[in-house]
């Protein structure tokens, strides 16, 4: 009986490890997707920045219910500056979300 209880504890621990490693993989892939999209938007000229869009990346296929989108909005209180937000969502038991933000300036942002 003691051995069975010990093995059951091992199995419970192992299942937690499985869940953690999946979580790590999904978060890592979500970050890669968001980072790539952010790099693409950073490479876009200020005037050509689209107001919003969907993220298309094959890495999203490796994440359950993976999807991504981005928005480009005027940064409140400043002219010539836009805030870029990239969001990746997925489902890992519960809904998960990863968000990257940056600012883009007309002619660059310098003090």
């Amino acid at each position: 009986m003691f051995i069975l209880v010990t093995l059951l504890a091992f199995y419970t621990s192992a299942l937690n490890t499985v869940a953690q490693s999946r979580k790590q993989r999904y978060e890592d892939l979500a970050y890669r997707v968001a980072n790539k999209q952010m790099e693409s938007l950073r490479a876009t000229t200020y005037v050509s920045l689209p107001p919003s869009g969907a993220v298309s990346d094959s890495m999203l296929n490796q994440i359950p219910s993976g999807a991504g989108s981005f928005t480009v909005a005027d940064y409140a209180g400043y002219t010539g500056i836009k805030e870029i937000t990239v969001t990746v969502t997925w489902t890992d038991g519960i809904a998960k979300q990863l968000q990257l933000k940056t600012l883009a300036g007309n002619g660059g942002i310098n003090p």
Binding site: V18, L29, R32, M59
Partner: protein, 186 residues
């Protein structure tokens, strides 16, 4: 007055009892063996899962880190020629204090050796950057560097697509990840 004698009879196990005990021990043994084997299989597959995820992250982060420091991509250095599986970057040298040394450059080469991804640094004599070869990832199943210009001297952005695949017994764990980074000053 009568005398009573206490008679104690010593009995062994019957054949049926012995067979039942042996059968129970055998069943318990089979269950325990199965649990141990299952546990071991799970351990191996999860180790492979963690390895591929960690290797992909480490490799892509390293490539991006050097890309962001690089002045430009170059077509060749030492015995290496740039291409879809070899990335050569020119990086400004640094002195012992970590300050940039004007006009001198180090080179970092990313290449595959068998199924391992390596980064080799070729420092200038005036540089304090160590001349080191570092293995970034094992079990590479696919690697492609995509340049945004066919002329290496005009490259400003590089995308790295990486597939790592590791077998764990009958199972195989793999991850395909990609990253994109712009060179310094772009």
């Amino acid at each position: 007055m009568s005398n009573y004698k206490l008679q104690i009879t010593k009995r062994g196990f019957t054949l049926i009892e012995t067979i039942i005990v042996i059968a129970l021990v055998a069943v318990a043994g089979v269950i325990l063996s199965d649990l141990f084997i299952g546990q071991n299989r799970l351990y191996r597959s999860e180790t492979a899962e963690l390895n591929v995820t960690a290797d992909a992250r480490a490799a892509l982060d390293d490539v991006d880190n050097y890309l962001r420091q690089a002045n430009r991509a170059v077509a060749s250095h030492s015995t290496y020629s740039a291409g879809p599986q070899i990335l050569i970057l020119q990086i400004q040298s640094v002195d012992g204090s970590g300050r940039l040394v004007a006009g001198t450059f180090d080179y970092a080469v990313y290449y595959l050796s068998a199924s391992d991804l390596w980064r080799q640094v070729f420092p200038d004599a005036a540089s304090s950057r160590p001349a080191a070869a570092k293995k970034l990832a094992n079990h590479i199943n696919g690697l492609v560097f995509t340049y945004n210009n066919p002329d290496y001297s005009l490259v400003t952005e590089v995308q790295t697509d990486l597939t790592i695949q590791e077998s764990a017994g009958a199972q195989t764990r793999s991850i395909t990840a990609s990253s994109k980074a712009k060179l310094r000053n772009y």
